[in-house]
């Protein structure tokens, strides 16, 4: 069949991972409308803005985890890296350093963790679960140590109220075109990494490694370098989340970013990124992050207990992974041997 003869919908669904992403979007709309019917305040403009802002953190962490998941690996350290980022930035600013150098130093520290993860997994072939579990503790340990095992004071005490406010506004409280900056930052990062994954050679190499690492090697893909790149993306995004958390609290919290690695997995998996590697698109991660945040927001607004919220979200994650496995097995099952 020629490409020109395909209907636009068929063409759209033919894009790798698009089916799962669209399913997640449909799910998102259904969930959102359902909560809105129960509590019309869900549809309010302010709630939508808050939803977009809160979703941005999950989107960034989802992008971080999706990159790694597509290569068939996992990064358990991203939550701790986010915490480390928040603590280092806050400590430096409380010490009087201007936010720009503080941000750059923090970024460097986080990227070092990314490189270490990449080397351990790509070069030394450590199981990613174990390697990143180790760096997770290391990063969290640094987050604790950086300010002598206590949270920092308000950043404004170090850099002054004006600079402190500017920092907080830039990353969290400020608005551009009526939407919180956090969302715009996440959107720009999303567009950049979406392009990188879908339109560049590196992107194809990432998919190739997740699909068949041996064949990727034989096709000239530098597996170590590509793995390091994915962990760098992961660490970079986690660092950005750390700045957002720092700006949100106006201080450094040692427990910032706790469990975010799992939120990242959830956002990716709900959006159709396979934990087995090789499939998924960032559009799905976008939908996954939105589903996650809508669920949290909606359950909150209808007055559900925290316990119920966790149960519902947990069930949805398991269902999404189950769907992925069933689809894969189904595909394998119906495969015909042609001679």
């Amino acid at each position: 069949m020629n490409n020109k003869q395909q209907s636009p919908l068929k063409k759209l669904l033919g894009i790798r991972g698009m089916g799962a992403a669209l399913t997640a979007f449909v799910g998102l709309i259904i969930i959102y409308i359902a909560f809105g019917v129960i509590n019309p305040a869900v549809f309010s403009g302010q709630n939508i803005l808050n939803l977009l802002r809160s979703m941005s953190k999950y989107l960034l962490i989802g992008i971080a985890q999706s990159y790694v998941l597509i290569t068939g690996n996992i990064d358990l350290s991203i939550g701790s890296v986010a915490g480390m980022s928040a603590m280092i930035t806050a400590t430096l600013m409380v010490g009087g350093m201007h936010p720009v150098p503080a941000i750059l130093i923090t970024l460097l520290c986080c990227l070092v963790i990314g490189v270490i993860n990449g080397y351990l997994v790509g070069k030394f072939k450590l199981p990613p679960f174990i390697a990143t579990l180790g760096t997770m503790f290391v990063a969290r340990g640094i987050a604790y140590m950086v300010n002598g095992n206590r949270n920092t004071d308000a950043i404004a005490t170090g850099v002054g109220k004006e600079t402190g406010d500017a920092f907080q506004n830039f990353f969290y409280y400020g608005k551009t075109f009526g939407v919180y900056n956090t969302f715009w930052i996440a959107l720009i990062v999303f567009v950049i990494f979406f392009f990188l994954l879908s339109k560049t050679r590196t992107g194809r190499h990432i998919y190739a490694i997740g699909s068949n690492v041996e064949a990727a090697k034989l096709s000239g893909v530098n597996v170590v370098a590509t793995t390091i790149k994915t962990y760098l993306v992961s660490a970079g995004c986690a660092c950005l989340v750390g700045w957002i958390l720092c700006a949100q609290a106006g201080m450094g919290n040692m427990e910032a970013g706790n469990m975010y690695e799992m939120y990242g997995v959830a956002a990716g998996v709900i959006g159709g990124v396979s934990p087995l590697g090789g499939t998924g698109i960032l559009l799905g991660t976008f939908a996954g992050a939105a589903v996650w945040q809508t669920l949290e927001n909606g359950l909150n607004m209808i007055g559900a207990q925290v316990g119920i919220q966790r149960v519902v979200i947990g069930v949805i994650v398991v269902a999404a992974v189950l769907l992925d496995v069933v689809v894969r097995n189904g595909q394998f099952g119906k495969r015909k041997k042609k001679n």
Partner: protein, 506 residues
Amino acid sequence: MKQEIFRMERVTYIENGVVMLQDFHLQICQGEIMGMVPLNNHGLSSFLKLLRSNLSLHDGYVYYCGEKVNSWMGPCRPYNRISVIQAKSSLVERMTVTDNIFVLRQGFHQEIIRSRLLRQQMQPFMEDIGMDIPGSRYVEELTVFERVVVELLRAVILGNRLIVLSEIGALISYEELGKLHEIIRHYAGQGFTFLYICSHLEEIARICDRVARLSNGRIQKITGKDEMEAEIMRICPDEYWMMVRCHREKSRVEKHREPVLVWQEPAVQENSGCSFEVYQGECLVVQAAENGQFGHITDILTGRCPMGDTQIKMGERRIRCVPADCRVAVVSELAARTMIFPELSYMENLCMCLARRMPFLWAGRKIRRNIRKEYAGYLGEEVFDLPVEELSEKQKYQMIYTRVLLQKPRVVFCIHPFQGADVAHRMFVWSMLEMLLDQGIAVVIVSVSLSDSLALADRLLILEKGGTQTQIPRERFDTISAKVPWTHLYGSPEYTGSVEIPEKIC
């Protein structure tokens, strides 16, 4: 009269709506070594499945050891005690040989494992067949030949009366194959029955009493030992004969120039070393007396181990990592399974190596559209819209070799390119390799089996035990001791004179 061990009677088996076996008849008697030549692989995997598991049949009956075990009315028992030895090991790695043979079986009930006792129990079996594989050795440390022998031994110890060996000749060297045949004959003499599946009748003729020809899920014909020589001529399609002959005549015209690649590997400790050079448009076949000798070469080719002391040069420039160098391409064994990216599209699979030359290939659609336009006539328009997992074996091979062609390498290394392929697919792989040679690309085939590879070769490099290596040019292929197809086409006086065209082609 010989006792019947296994019989399939009028078996029709349907899998996912596709008739895999149709009106399938096969009878094997005790102590017999039955051969099977699959002209195409259709139905072969289903047949192997049905040997071990009694799946629902559409029609027919299956008898094993005198009992009806399966029929169209339903299976009488779930499994048959039949061992199948093939490329994929059924042994558990990271466990010792004795653990695999004695502990991992249904009848073993001891809680405390007495390893020394098990090793002592295994010793007489090893002495019986003249082998010396330590029982304490881990499975991953075994050579392919040793692994096959251990699997065979396990089948014997388990008391499985029928043992199936599938395409073993492609895994082990000629000498090892000779030894394996001795072991098979030994156990056949003791009443064990063997089914020897192999695409090469020459190999089957060395060991089997009868041979069954499988085609499209049906046994076409069963031939006795006396008729096998004539059958060899019949079974090979005319086109294949023509391909071999055409290539042979074409190759003689080519004159070798400067080497495009020089491989120098010094002998270090247990690694016996290997050195060779290959010329533009030349096909060099590297064959080893033992499969283990290839380990280092294949590891370097696939990038699994660093180059170490091995030096690979193209002109003056040294290659640091073979897979990373775009002037060299590697086609790994069982390429249709190992070299595809199931989650990626056909175009992505096709252009994976091209992206090394064109970094912005994925940014726009123009180049990909042009590739599609250019190759649609050759590859087929429909394949571009199919998931790669749904492609036929032939289409997968076509995609992989076209990927290599798009890369425009100067040398292509093929590791066991004909392994696991039936006659039709072997012909196809053959034509693909010839296409590369026609483009002036040097092809190095790394294989233990000379069948098929030899016909394509311009030069043969044999790695002997102990590190010596022998080079045999095409003109002297008739001196090769191994009984492989096509050798009769070479050597004086036929080589220098006109080659006799087989009767059936005339």
